[in-house]
Amino acid sequence: MSMKDDHPDQGWSAALDGEEDPQALRFMLKRAQNDADLAQRWSRWSLAGDLLARRQVAPAPSGFADAVAEMIAAEPSPVSTPAATHSGARRWMGGALGLAIAASVAWAALTLFVAPPSDRVDSPLVQNGALQAPPAMTPVASGPAMGLSPVQPVSIQSGATPVSYVPFRGRDAYMVRHSLGAQLAPLGVSSAAVFLAEPTVALPSATEAEAAANGAR
């Protein structure tokens, strides 16, 4: 019922004509769940309008709408198709997005951890010497046959700043071993041998990086 209405049923009359505010209608419907008298009155108002407009109607018996209501009560709630479609699309997109993210993470992990050292010289940790590896470690050489960038051996010149090494642990180590195993397999290196070795990646010192950069220019 609107504030300006002078009768509680005036809102229902307006609702019959599609002239009631949707929010008010929602509230009215909640209150009218078990109002059988209202339902009957609504039906008669409709019939009166049809008869006044001289439409070809057949007045429904009183129990007709109740019988339909009983059938409807046994039905699952209808779902708005556009919303369902969007929801389905969202689910599909969510799945695809998840796969895409997973693939991106895997690709990034592979390229990051097996990337040529020259790609990683910008790391402040490397530049300030925070990352130091045991000097006994030997970088693993690999052929350039595979598509993935192999770990590049870095020549250590005497007197030069020691090469920094980054030891791989846990999942990172597994990823590197897996990549190397795949790349060395055609050369006859067993994957077991690769997995027994502790993978490391050789990183040039900041000086080397600068020298390499200058040489490239």
């Binding site: 609107s2 300006k4 209405d5 002078d6 009768h7 049923d9 005036q10 009359s13 307006a14 609702a15 019959l16 004509d17 599609g18 002239e19 009631e20 949707p22 209608l25 929602r26 419907l29 009218a32 769940q33 339902a39 009155r41 609504w42 039906s43 008669r44 108002w45 409709s46 019939l47 009166a48 309008g49 049809d50 008869l51 006044l52 407009a53 001289r54 439409r55 070809q56 109607v57 057949a58 007045p59 429904a60 018996p61 009183s62 007709f64 709408a65 019988a67 339909v68 209501a69 059938m71 409807i72 009560a73 039905e75 709630s77 209808p78 779902v79 708005s80 198709t81 556009p82 369902a84």
Partner: protein, 195 residues
């Protein structure tokens, strides 16, 4: 079908409530259109009991597929088509041939072949319908001028409240009140005649 300017939006709010799971809103749509749908099916199926069964099926089908209703047409146009198709299927499945006379298009809702309707309805039904019609018309004719005009502009010409307010040069709230008072007066007489 005569042009009704407000038709498309008349049931929009109720349909949206149904699509959100409000079965009471669907019950009101059933009560609003049951007489018209039964009249339509009655013209196609020459059996009152069968017509009621088919009409129930029509509303059930409408409820099941209302999620797909996007409001491109009015709700009544949409359910009218369901009623025509369901009636045709019913006739075919019973070995009868659907009528090709009139009811294939929505435009024929106001088909003026009252004789045919009288053929199909039982004499008692038709007598009651005629009596109801007389009651409604005589009540409306006896209403105060401003109430009668507001009600007929709405029910016969299909004007929106805003349009009626413009025609009658009064606020929309007044139109709202006048239409309700007209309906209430008609209802008091019609109630006594309901089956």
């Amino acid at each position: 079908m005569e042009a009704r300017m407000a038709d498309l939006d008349d049931d929009k709010a109720l349909v949206e409530r149904v699509q959100k799971g409000d079965t009471k809103a669907f019950d009101l749509l059933v009560r609003k259109y049951q007489h018209r749908i039964l009249g339509l099916i009655g013209r196609m199926i020459n059996d009152w009991a069968e017509a009621q069964d088919v009409a129930q099926e029509v509303f059930l089908r409408a409820y099941r597929s209302i999620g797909a209703f996007r409001g491109d047409s009015s709700f009544y146009t949409w359910i009218y088509r369901i009623a025509v198709n369901t009636s045709k299927n019913h006739l075919v499945s019973n070995g009868r041939r659907p009528s090709t006379t009139d009811v294939d298009t929505v435009e024929n809702e106001h088909w003026s072949g009252a004789e045919r309707m009288q053929e199909h309805a039982t004499p008692e039904h038709e007598l009651v319908r005629q009596e109801m019609e007389r009651s409604v018309i005589s009540t409306v004719e006896a209403l105060p001028e401003e109430i009668r005009l507001a009600l007929t502009l709405r029910e016969m010409d299909g004007l929106s409240y805003e349009e009626i307010a413009q025609v009658m040069e009064c606020p929309i709230g007044t139109v709202r009140s006048r239409i309700f008072r007209g309906r209430d007066a008609v209802d008091r007489n019609l109630k006594e005649l309901m089956p």
